[in-house]
């Protein structure tokens, strides 16, 4: 039953990090999306960030915060934020200027336009970002287990450390298949959430 517990840990790590990452990404996106240079910087950071190998980043984090759960959470949040941020900026910016002007012309303040027009209209794009981010975080979380974090990654590293041993392959398989199943379940839930939180007026 260890595998069920670890699967739960894995899912829990990803989902909680995802929630934090979504909040961070949306806040940054809303701050920068109306400033061209701000969006450019945020987009550059997210592209560069995604090219960093997660194992390297883990190597940098462990000396600072030690081993265990904390570095895992930090790394997963960092990677999870990037695709959401990117999609949120694109989503908030790709809205017809005439529509926004018309909303202002009705007497909506800039804040109201952001929260009641731009954010809901960008929501489907943001949700896509969250789904991409969730899939990526599954893999990142597995690697983060190298620093003795929680989750299914532990099986994979057990397998790696016993290469040639009798159970090495089974460990690695248990970890990998477990990650895939958890990823599929989380994605299904996210699709459902996207469906329920997107206005019918935006579905094509």
């Amino acid at each position: 039953m260890d595998i069920l517990f670890r699967s739960y840990q894995h899912a829990s790590l990803v989902v909680q990090s995802l929630v934090v990452a979504t909040i961070i990404a949306l806040l940054i996106a809303m701050l920068v999306s109306s400033r061209p240079w701000g969006s450019a910087v945020a987009n550059a950071v997210s592209s560069i960030g995604l090219t960093l190998p997660s194992l390297a980043l883990l190597g940098l984090a462990v000396p600072l915060v030690g081993i265990g759960t904390l570095p895992s959470v930090m790394i997963v949040i960092f990677y999870a934020t990037l695709p959401i941020l990117r999609n949120a900026i694109v989503g908030l910016q790709n809205i017809d200027e005439d529509l926004l002007e018309s909303a202002r012309g009705q007497g909506m303040s800039r804040r109201a336009v952001l929260l009641r027009v731009r954010l809901p209209m960008a929501w489907p794009v943001i949700m896509t970002g969250i789904r991409v981010s969730a899939q990526m975080s599954m893999g990142v979380a597995a690697i983060a287990a190298y620093a003795l974090g929680p989750g299914l990654g532990g099986y994979i590293f057990s397998g790696l450390s016993q290469i040639g041993g009798a159970n090495a392959l089974y460990y690695a398989l248990a970890g990998t298949i477990g990650v895939i199943i958890v990823a599929l379940i989380v994605d299904l839930v996210l699709v459902l959430i996207a469906r329920l939180t997107t206005s019918k007026g935006l579905l094509v």
Partner: protein, 416 residues
């Protein structure tokens, strides 16, 4: 019904005055709008027309400060609004744009109720208001309230746009090319409805268009603008057609100003003829006898609710016992408030030399082709008489021409 709108539910328009309003996008370049002075009287529909880039839209958007004027003053009901909070200002000015500008993730009802909600009206009041306005623009609230904009046709979206502009009962409505995105038939219908609504509500409406025909049809006054929003002419449509102030205005009106005057006249200002009618299900033999007795060869078929359904020649009826239920939709029916221009369009599609006229859907008679051509001939004779006596550009003489005197009947007629 419409009377009660005017008395209890809607407030009438107020004056707008632009004083030396200027917009400069860069300190060196030419001003987009150079010291524009216009007084827009309360309750009138004023059309801003001009070629693209003349500054008409910029001028419009400075009234609700979507574009901040570089200098000058804008007075609404005598109060300078150049310094008040633009967001609050805009809630008191309706704004209608091309295509409607619906917010796609909100239902039609929520779109219409947008400004009342911003003004913190209570839910019940917003709902009543939304239903009232959707009725006013001809959309059944029960059917359309909970739909989303993408489920509506272009014309319907434009109606919602107009309803939204009127929702919080602002005394002023700004319209930016409101009917530019719909097909010609829908456009002329929407124009007719806007005129009907305006004749009840008497708002102050400022409407930008590049279509001079639309300006002539809708406007109580037309402001013709040249580059830099310099005023070429500001006058009633009748005066502008009869006496263009300069060559620019003349070119802009284009040729066929007599034809354009047809846009100023309504079908019910001409006499209708009353050819024989029959109802669906009547006996053909009896109908035929009646038609021949009247010396005609065709008959207008009405349904049980007196709506015109078809215009048949006797030849088409010969093989039937009873007048059959028509299978096709009619193209040649016009409303009694349609312009002669639209009527002429409908007639050209008819094979009977006339168009059936309805009032609220009920048949009231036929406008014949000859009635319109006689009217055009009279206009032309009048114009050539004036040309001989006063010369084409003596504006005072033409302004008091019989045609313009008649037009006082136009505005009062529109309110009836």
């Amino acid at each position: 019904m419409t009377k009660t709108h005017q008395d209890s539910t809607f407030q009438a328009g107020v004056d707008i005055e632009l004083q030396g309003v200027t917009k400069r996008y860069s300190s060196k370049g030419e001003a987009a709008v150079a010291a524009l002075n216009v007084a827009i009287p309360a309750g009138e529909m004023v059309m801003f027309v001009g070629p693209s880039g003349c500054g008409k839209t910029t001028s419009l958007k400075m009234i609700n400060r979507l574009i901040e004027p570089t200098s000058g003053r804008i007075l609404i009901d005598g109060e300078d609004v150049t310094d008040i909070n633009p967001t609050k200002l805009r809630r008191k000015i309706g704004y209608v744009i091309q295509g409607g500008g619906m917010i796609p993730h909100l239902s039609v009802g929520d779109n219409v109720g947008l400004v009342p909600k911003l003004l913190n009206w209570d839910k019940k009041r917003i709902r009543e208001r939304v239903d009232l306005l959707m009725d006013l623009v001809g959309l059944d609230p029960v059917h359309y309230r909970d739909r989303f904009p993408r489920e509506l046709s272009g014309g319907q979206q434009q109606r919602v746009g107009v309803a939204r502009g009127l929702a919080a009962d602002p005394p002023i409505i700004l319209m930016d090319e409101p009917f530019g995105a719909v097909d010609p038939i829908t456009r002329s219908r929407l124009q007719d409805e806007l005129m009907r609504i305006q004749s009840d509500l008497k708002k102050t409406i400022v409407c930008v268009t590049h279509d001079i025909d639309e300006a002539i049809k809708l406007g109580d006054r037309i402001l013709v603008l040249e580059r830099g929003a310099r005023i070429a002419q500001y006058d009633t449509p009748e005066s502008i057609l009869a006496a263009p102030a300069n060559e620019f205005v003349e070119d802009f009106i284009g040729s066929g100003s007599t034809l354009k005057q047809l846009s100023l006249r309504r079908v019910d200002e001409l006499d209708l003829t009353q050819p024989p009618t029959a109802h669906i299900g009547d006996r053909v033999a009896e109908v035929e006898e009646r038609v021949r007795a009247a010396g005609e060869t065709s008959v207008i078929v009405l349904d049980s609710r007196e709506r015109p359904r078809e215009w048949l020649s006797l030849r088409q009826l010969r093989h039937a016992d009873e007048v059959p239920t028509p299978t096709t939709d009619l193209q040649t029916v016009i409303d009694h408030r349609s312009t002669l221009n639209d009527a002429l369009d409908a007639m050209l599609a008819s094979s009977h030399g006339g168009a059936m006229v309805t009032n609220r859907g009920r048949y009231i008679g036929v406008l014949s082709y000859t009635a319109v051509t006689d009217y055009v001939r009279a206009l032309n004779e009048q114009a050539s008489d004036e040309a001989e006596t006063s010369g084409p550009r003596a504006s005072e003489a033409t302004r008091t021409s019989p045609l313009t005197q008649e037009s006082s009947g136009r505005s009062s007629g529109a309110g009836a």
